[in-house]
Subunit: 358 residues, 2 copies
DNA sequence: CTGAAAGCGCTTACAG
DNA sequence: CTGAAAGCGCTTACAG
């Protein structure tokens, strides 16, 4: 039933195609119809200019007639590089990642590269690396690493320097292309703003991360203002867990300003504060981070720092494409790929923060 | 610099590898070390039992020694089927889709299939189909279609019946594997529940969808209760747009119960209601749909119907895998793939709904 | 500008 | 059980 030697020359009629390509025309079929050789076809596909006008027309007609579409898999095998981008990320449900991936998808579609998702096993270690390896085995044209929780080091070192790659977020890597979200700066600014509103200090509730630039910005702003920093409170990615934290914080009348590691946590905190009988922002100000889609809809609307995730995703693809074109053209490999582009967030003050009640 | 004929037999030393595979060992290299033929290697890879014990050991040792990993691209070319799953979906940022994709990712990883995302162009038509085509050109082992806004028909008809596929959501398709989310039933139940709470009618705010099973369930529940149905109000996927709708609804003292097409819209409505000076649930009850991660954190926590998106995603992969195994084993192609599995949602009553104030 | 040849790394009848 | 051969659909030197 399946294909066997000779099958295609004798007309691959047979049964139903086993897969989508099935009996789609091959480059050889088109070459025959256009009366040119296969290599000429190949040249035409890569750059029509390399073929004489006459053949060009014949080929175009044949392609049209047979509705030919080159087989990307065969191409990938010959080139040892498939025309696709793989995105490596941990849990894709988290807001920032979803948005970033969306931006990547949009731009990738624009340049005609499909994207494949390589989920980094949250348990890390060997399991995560085996994921990475198996994605690399597919020879993607390039990889985009979303590194919002800094599991990067072990992954980055697995990716050959010759492989186009861009990292979004994470600690700085030498000789790699990277997009920096300036979280430290934003956190610093938000904290300072809260201080300006008259709050004596601001409490920080942190989201899981090995290295937390947001916490660092907060701490530094406090330190610069000569305000002692309360111990940061750690929570999970699950907003529900922040409710209890909010409630406890609400029981302490001295806390009047809380800065959360992300908007979802901020929302959980606000719920907890409400349960503790405290009003936002009258009794306590709450600020988040990210500008989640629902932040402006929250009750009250949440003050936060807007992160340009999807823009970062789009930019990552653009950067990656440059590198890919470089390797395709065999030029400047690896050398000039050191990039560190900033995509800064900005403060958006809504109604969840207010001057300290005197 | 690049590969040229003979390169691999003469030792492909040369420069840096151009891509990740670069100078990875091929099946031929391993065969040489193990002192067996390439076909024997191939047989071993597919099913070690088909090879004599002696060779089996030699091969295992050689694989280990060279750290050999088969090239999935070459395999895909030979088999005209790549070991990967492509997921087709419109805007992946929307809650249900993100969750579903997460489930797919988790299960796909378990069975060792990478997933590639094919974003369906929201503008539909030819643009969308060209996306589909180019994904199909990659010969995925199977496809999962997330059809939460019913753009399905034109896509489904493009996918050969011989291609393993499972559809999640959407209107029923003959002779296809499909997972049904029972939204009609859930919407019916929610509406009836609201009526039981004493509300004279329930208003419906609908999310964009060509065919809206949720609206149908709502309408039928009203009709069965002999309650006239108010005109449904259409909104967008953007929760912010629901604020204004909530405000307007809030100005009408006769509305005491609102059912939203999804949780995010419900949240927007609640915000609008608040702005209109109405309290939830004291003045008006609001129910959503989906059980968004933030629903239980909302102020007040949102009554909704919990949808098992990630479970649906996982089940889809399981169903797909069965089909894939069928085609790999050349059996029962296409015939027995008619499946219609239900994954029902369930009502979760939280604090945003209450008996009508007498 | 163009074609014949060889190669990419696998798989699958076929004939021992 | 196993190897030699041919094939999957492309690409790229090489030599006109």
């Amino acid at each position: 039933m399946a294909r066997y030697p000779g099958t295609h020359t004798t007309g691959r009629g047979g049964f139903m195609p086993r897969t989508k390509r099935g009996n789609a025309p091959s480059i050889r079929d088109v070459a025959a119809v256009a009366n040119v050789s296969v290599p000429t076809m190949s040249r035409y596909l890569k750059d029509p200019e390399r073929v004489s006008e006459k053949k060009r027309e014949a080929i175009a007609a044949a392609i049209e007639k047979l509705n030919y579409r080159p087989n990307p898999i065969a191409r990938a095998l010959a080139l040892d590089m498939s025309e696709s981008i793989t995105v490596m990320s941990a849990d894709t449900r988290l807001y920032g990642r979803t948005q970033t991936i969306f931006g990547i998808e949009r731009k990738a579609q624009e340049i005609g590269y499909p994207i494949t998702i390589c989920v980094l096993d949250p348990r890390g270690g060997e399991r995560m690396l085996s994921n990475v390896r198996s994605c690399l085995d597919r020879s993607p044209a390039g990889v985009i690493l979303i590194d919002f929780d800094r599991l990067t080091d072990s992954v980055v070192s697995r990716i050959p320097a010759s492989t186009p790659m861009v990292i979004i977020g994470g600690p700085r890597h030498e000789r790699r292309a990277q997009i920096h979200l300036c979280e430290y700066d934003s956190a610093y600014a938000m904290t300072r703003r809260l201080l300006e509103l008259g709050h004596e200090t601001v409490h920080y509730v942190s989201v899981p991360a090995d290295v937390d630039a947001r916490a660092d910005g907060w701490r530094m702003a406090l330190s610069d203002a000569k305000v002692p920093a309360p111990a940061p409170i750690a929570t999970t990615w699950d907003a529900e867990d922040a409710i209890e934290i909010g409630r406890r914080l609400g029981e302490d009348p001295s806390v009047t300003a809380i800065f959360a590691g992300n908007d979802e946590v901020a929302m959980g905190l606000m719920r907890g504060l409400t349960l503790a009988g405290r009003r936002v922002p009258d009794d306590v100000s709450v600020a988040g981070f990210d500008d989640h889609t629902l932040s402006k809809v929250w009750n009250p609307p949440l003050t936060t720092v807007r992160q340009r995730f999807s823009e970062a995703g789009e930019h990552a693809v653009a950067l990656l494409k440059e590198q890919i074109d470089d390797v395709v053209n065999d030029c400047s490999r690896g050398e000039a790929w050191t990039v560190f582009d900033r995509i800064a967030g900005d403060l958006v003050e809504r109604e969840s923060t207010a001057p300290r009640r005197s």
